[in-house]
């Protein structure tokens, strides 16, 4: 009897079951609501649009993308806080009809600063590197992968996510995520690793995860330091701008000692921008090679004042900054470069990519600007900016001056 009754109950529950969220493609961005009133107003606009499209389809025979009946019922249930809608960084329109609380954050970068770790059930293996500053990550399901590596899809599904957060370019593409996720589970693609999109991406995530207070606070902190750096760099005349070479370090490249990897102005990756954001001139600005590979002789001919290295290593879990010294020493000792000003004046600096490619960018930028123009930034302490981020946004007692590898020489 129990079995029969539960079967019928299950059947009825199945009939009543609604999907939680639904991505709609091709709808243009309408900005990000910031205040409670704006959120409610936008929810009404979204709901009206969806009701019209649904009614047109069901009663008017006009085909158009719209929420399902179950999703509309959920949206009404949580109205006026929901529905919420963003256009992600891959230009997909994402509509959320109820609070998210079961996210697989394959891209975990923003979760700590948004105070949203409680909404996360699963993370990539790479997120475990943040455990020293965000201990909560240790309690999440490790679905494997991270960065360019694929996670375990079965583990991901076992998390029964209501959304997946991943990157625009890094890691698996639509064939892996979007096409295989259950209906109604949106794949939200944002990076939170590129300087120019940190604030808009944080604001979008803050809005759909109901963490606008945190995203607002981040924007204020970010703007305060970025504006201060801009203000100081604006006083540097163009003829006094340092000419810098960006050296992107990885073992596969440095094994071939006659080649270096750099970043031109047109590349999608942000490394070239670290020089210009620091008030310097990128000697490889006009380089069009997609891989950014250059001959070491070419570097010597550019005669840069500074070499700015970025290393795919370091960050919070490193015991100290000695790991970054490898690249520093390699550049300083390279026979082909010994006559250039950057080497003769020992103006070689190395950053951990996880310091530059993330929400700590204002601190990393301050560090670059201070290396380029030490007198102009004498009273700015990049480590203190970094510590402010760690303490205030991650709520961590981690001391960035005693642990980790972020910049060298420190």
């Amino acid at each position: 009897m129990k079995k029969q009754t539960s079967s019928i109950a299950f059947l009825l529950a199945g009939l009543l079951c609604c999907c939680l969220v639904f991505p709609v493609a091709g709808i243009s961005s309408e900005g990000i609501p910031r205040t409670q009133d704006d959120i409610h107003d936008y929810a009404r606009t979204i709901l009206r649009t969806e009701i019209l499209n649904y009614s047109s389809d069901v009663y008017g025979g006009e085909r158009s993308a719209h929420l399902t009946a179950g999703q509309l019922a959920d949206a009404v249930r949580y109205y006026p806080e929901y529905p919420r809608r963003i256009t992600d960084s891959k230009n997909s329109t994402i509509t959320i009809v109820r609070p998210l609380n079961h996210i697989v954050a394959y891209n975990f970068h923003s979760m700590g600063a948004l105070n949203a770790t409680d909404l996360v059930v699963g993370v990539a293996n790479s997120a475990m590197q943040d455990a020293l500053v965000i201990p909560a990550v240790k309690g999440k399901v490790n679905i494997g992968g991270g960065g360019p590596y694929e996670p375990d899809f079965e583990k991901l599904l076992a998390c029964t996510p209501d959304a997946v957060l991943t990157y625009t370019e890094l890691g698996p593409g639509p064939e892996f995520f979007e096409k295989r996720m259950p209906e109604g589970v949106p794949v939200i693609r944002v990076d939170c690793i590129r300087p120019w999109s940190l604030v808009p991406e944080m604001n979008k995530l803050g809005y759909i995860m109901n963490r606008t207070e945190q995203s607002d606070a981040y924007e204020q902190w970010h703007s305060r330091w970025m504006d201060e750096i801009d203000r100081r760099l604006a006083t540097v005349p163009s003829e006094k701008r340092v000419r810098a070479f960006m050296d992107i370090w990885s073992t596969s490249f440095t094994d071939r000692s006659n080649e270096r990897r750099t970043a031109g102005g047109g590349q999608w990756y942000s490394y070239g921008r670290y020089i210009t954001d620091g008030g310097g001139v990128n000697v490889a600005e006009d380089l069009t090679s997609p891989q950014g590979t250059v001959d070491i002789e070419w570097v010597a001919r550019q005669n840069p004042d500074v070499i700015l290295g970025v290393m795919y290593d370091g960050s919070y879990e490193s015991p100290d900054s000695s790991v970054l010294k490898t690249q520093y020493d390699e550049l300083l000792s390279h026979p082909t470069l010994k006559e250039i000003p950057a080497i003769k004046n020992r103006r070689v600096y190395v950053l951990s990519y996880r310091y530059t490619n993330g929400l700590t960018y204002p601190a990393a930028r301050a560090q670059v600007a201070k290396w380029f123009y030490p007198e102009l930034f004498a009273d700015i302490d990049p480590a203190a900016i970094h510590q402010e981020y760690v303490t205030r946004f991650l709520g961590s007692s981690y001391d960035v001056t005693r642990q980790g590898a972020f910049s060298y020489p420190a």
Binding site: M1, K3, Q4, T5, I8, R44, T45, L47, R48, T49, I51, L52, Y54, S55, S56, V58, Y59, G60, E62, A69, L72, A73, A75, V76, R77, Y79
Partner: protein, 176 residues
Amino acid sequence: MMTTISGASRFSAGMALVLLVILIVPVMAAETTAVQRTIAPASPQPAETMNITITVPPGFFGGIVETLPDGFSFEGTSHPPDGVKQSGRTVIFAVTGEKSVSYAIRAPASGCGVISGKWENVGTGGKGEIPQEVIAVAGSDPSQCRTVPHTPGFSWWIALAAFGFIGMVVQRQVNR
């Protein structure tokens, strides 16, 4: 091993179904009757503008789909622009908590027509039809326009039949 069911359990299952019908059907019926249309004036002069008001129950979130009479033109609405969509004789309103929807149509120089409508409360899943009405311009013969037979929506007797069917299925399972 064969599963058995006690008399008390059988009684409980039957009672549950009866209670479901008793509780749900009146709610659905109430929502059906609460979506109503008023037309003023009911018999317009030639080319006169008529005001139509659809009232909905409190907490109604959903769509109202009105099909205008042939020859009558849509003149406008006080409903928010982002909650209205017109295509030919069909006008769709998205209702997000408003108590009513008002719009205007203009009558032709002569003749008559039938106005009809459907609604769906997306919050509750309830749906139904707004009764058809014949609108005849003064001096025209309304008998030239007839309402088409009512197409049942999710009305109370459909619900009753559905629950009856579920009851039969349950009973068969129980007797097996």
